[in-house]
Amino acid sequence: MSESIIPPEVRPKPAVPAKPPHVVAPSPTAPHGPQGLGSGHLGGGSTLLGYIGIDTIIEQMRKKTMKAGFDFNIMIVGQSGLGKSTLVNTLFKSQVSRWSSAWGSEFKLPKTVEIKAVSHVIEEGGVKMKLTVIDTPGFGDQINNENCWEPISKYINEQYEKFLKEEVNIARKKRIPDTRVHCCLYFISPTGHSLRQLDIEFMKHLSRMVNIVPVIAKSDTMTPDEKNEFKQRVRKELEVCGIEFYPQKEFDDDMEDKNENDKIREAMPFAVVGSDKEYQVNGKRVLGRKTAWGVIEVENPNHCEFALLRDFLIRTHLQDLKEITHNIHYETYRAKRLNENGGLHPISANDTQESNL
C-alpha cells in the first residue's frame, strides 16, 4: 500500500493500484466521506489505458483536512480519584483536563453528576486538532448511585440532537460543528476481583449509544499475574452481559480490519498508568511515577499498557472512532427520531429556534 504518486509515464497495462489507506469503502449508509474510490476500474471492469491521476485525490484530501483541522470529543467517566484527568493529559501530552484551568484549587465532590466540557486546540506536524475533553465529576461517588448515568446519556443525546437540527436545516452550514461524543473512556477500578455492579449498569446502558473504551485505571497496584487474571475476568463478564465495547465486532468491515481488531480486543481492557511528571531512568527522561521501590515508566510496555492505548486511540483508530459515531450511533439516533414524529420538516433560517421536530 504505497502512498507515493506514481510518475506519469505511459504504461501499456498498469497494475490495478492498491486500495488507498485513508478512504472508506463505499457503504450504503455513508452520506459523508469520499465516494467510490475503492478501485481503479471504470464501471464495467475495463482497464485504464494511461495514467489519469485519480489517486492524487488522496493528497488533495489530505491538504484540505489539514487546513480544516480535526474535531475530537472524548468523554471520561469513572469514580473520582482514578486518575482520569492525569491520563488524558498524558495521552495528549498537554494540560487538557479541567484541572488545568484551576490548578491547585480545592477538590470538592459534587452532589450530582455534572458534565464539564473543556476544549483546547493542539497542533502537531501541521495538523490542528480541536480536542474537547468531557469530564463527568460525581459519577459513582455518592452512597446511592442509582441512575447516575442518566445525566451522561442525556448529554450524549443532546449532542446528537444538536447535530440533527443543523443537518435538517434548510440553510445549513458547510461544516456542521461536531460536538458529538466520539469516544467514552470508562475507568474501571483495579480491585483485582471483577467488575462492579455500577460498571456493568453503566456500560449496558451506554454501549449502544456511544463508543465505550474500558480501561483499567491505576494499574500499578497489580502485579502482572493479577493484571492478566483481572483482565480475563473482566472480558468474560462483559461478554456474559452482552456489552460490546469499541471496537465492536459487528462493525468490522473486512478480514483485515477484523484481524487487527481481534488482536486489540484480546488485549483490552488496557491496564494503564498515567503521569505528567518526568524522571531520569537509565540516562533517559521518562514520564513515570517514582516510589520507594522503583520508577514506574508510563511508556514502557512491560510496566503498563499506556503505549498500546495511545497508539490505538490516537495513531490508528481516531478516524474510525469518529466514523462509527457518525455512521452508526448517530444514524441510530436519527432513525429513532424520524420514526417518533413521523418525519422531520426542514426549518428555514428565518424561523426561530422552535422546530417542528
Binding site: 477538590f107 452512597i143 480491585t191 520507594a292 520508577v295
Partner: protein, 372 residues
Amino acid sequence: MTTSIRYKSRIPVKTDETTEEKQYVGFATLPNQVHRKSVKKGFDFTLMVAGESGLGKSTLVNSLFLTDLYKDRKLLNAEERINQTVEIIKHTVDIEEKGVKLKLTIVDTPGFGDAVNNNECWRPITDYIEQQFEQYFRDESGLNRKNIQDNRVHCCLYFIPPFGHGLRPVDVEFMKALHEKVNVVPLIAKSDCLTPNEIKKLKDRVREEIDRFGIKVYQFPECDSDEDEEFKQLDKELKECCPFAVIGSNTVVEARGQRVRGRLYPWGIVEVENQSHCDFVKLRNMLIRSHMHDLKDVTCDVHYENYRAQCIQEMTSKLTQDNRMESPIPILPLATPDVETDRLIKMKDEELARMQEMLNKMQQQIHDGKEQ
C-alpha cells in the same frame, strides 16, 4: 525500754536485706500470678474488617496473623453480586505462640459498599455489633456467669480506598454510624499504588476530614510520664502515622538476598515489612504487640458501658411507663423464647405460686396460733 536497748546492743545488727524482708509483704508478685493465670486461660480477640471488596482486606488479615483464613473463598462475579446484601461472616482460628494461646475471631463483611445503591449498607454491621453487646449483657445479668463467652467486637479495621481524594460519603457515614459502638481504626488500603507524596497528602486530607466530620476514631492512650524515651518516641510516631497506609501479601519473594513477604512488580519489589514501604509493621505492632489489651479495655469500659447505660435507660423508661414494680436487676425481655425454656419457666412459676400459697397458709396459722 532499757531492756530493748540493751538487747539491741547485744544482738548483732541485722543486714538491710532482712529488714527489707520484714517489710516485704510480697504482693508485688501479683502481676506475675495474673500473667500465669491468664496465660493458662488464653486470650480472645475479635477483629472486624470492613470496606469495599477488592481492597485487600483478606490479604492483610492473612499477613497480620500469618495464616490463610480464606483458602476456600469463591469470588463472585458482578452478575451474581447484583442481589447480594451485606453479610456477616465469622472465621475463628486458634493461634499459639510461646505458650500463649490466642483465640482470634475475624468478622468479615462481604458485600459492603458494592451495590449501586448503598443506602444504609452499614445497618447489618451495626446490628451485629449491638447483638453481641446484647448477648453479653444478658449473660452478665444471668445466673450462671462462670463461662461467659465474649463475642464483642474489640476493633474494626476500616479500609479506605487509595484511589480517592479523601473520604467518600459512604466512608464518612459508615464511620459515624460505628464510632460510638466499636473502636474504629481507619487504614489506607493498597497503598503501593501511591507515591510517598501522595500518601502524605491523602493522610492529611483524611485526618482533616475525620476532624471536620467529628468522627471519633480509636485514640491511642497517652504515655505515662515514667515510660522511657524510646517508648515515648515510638508512641509519638504511631500517633502521627494514623491512618496507617498498608499493603498485604500472601506471597514470599526474594529481595535483597532474603525471603520476605512482598509483591513483585516489573519495576521493583514492595516489601510488606519494610517500614519505608508501608505502615504494615506499625499496624501490626499497634494491634497485636502494644495495644491489643487496651482495645479490649476500651471496648469493655467505654463502648459496652455506653450500650448498657442506654439499654437500661430504655428499659426503666418503659417500666415506669407501664407502672410495674421496679426490679433491682434489670431483666431484658426474652427475645425468642423457645419451647423448652418456656415449659421450664411455666413449671417454675407454678412451683413459686404453690410455695407462696404455702407460706401464706403457714403465716396465717402462726398468726391464728398467736391469737389463740
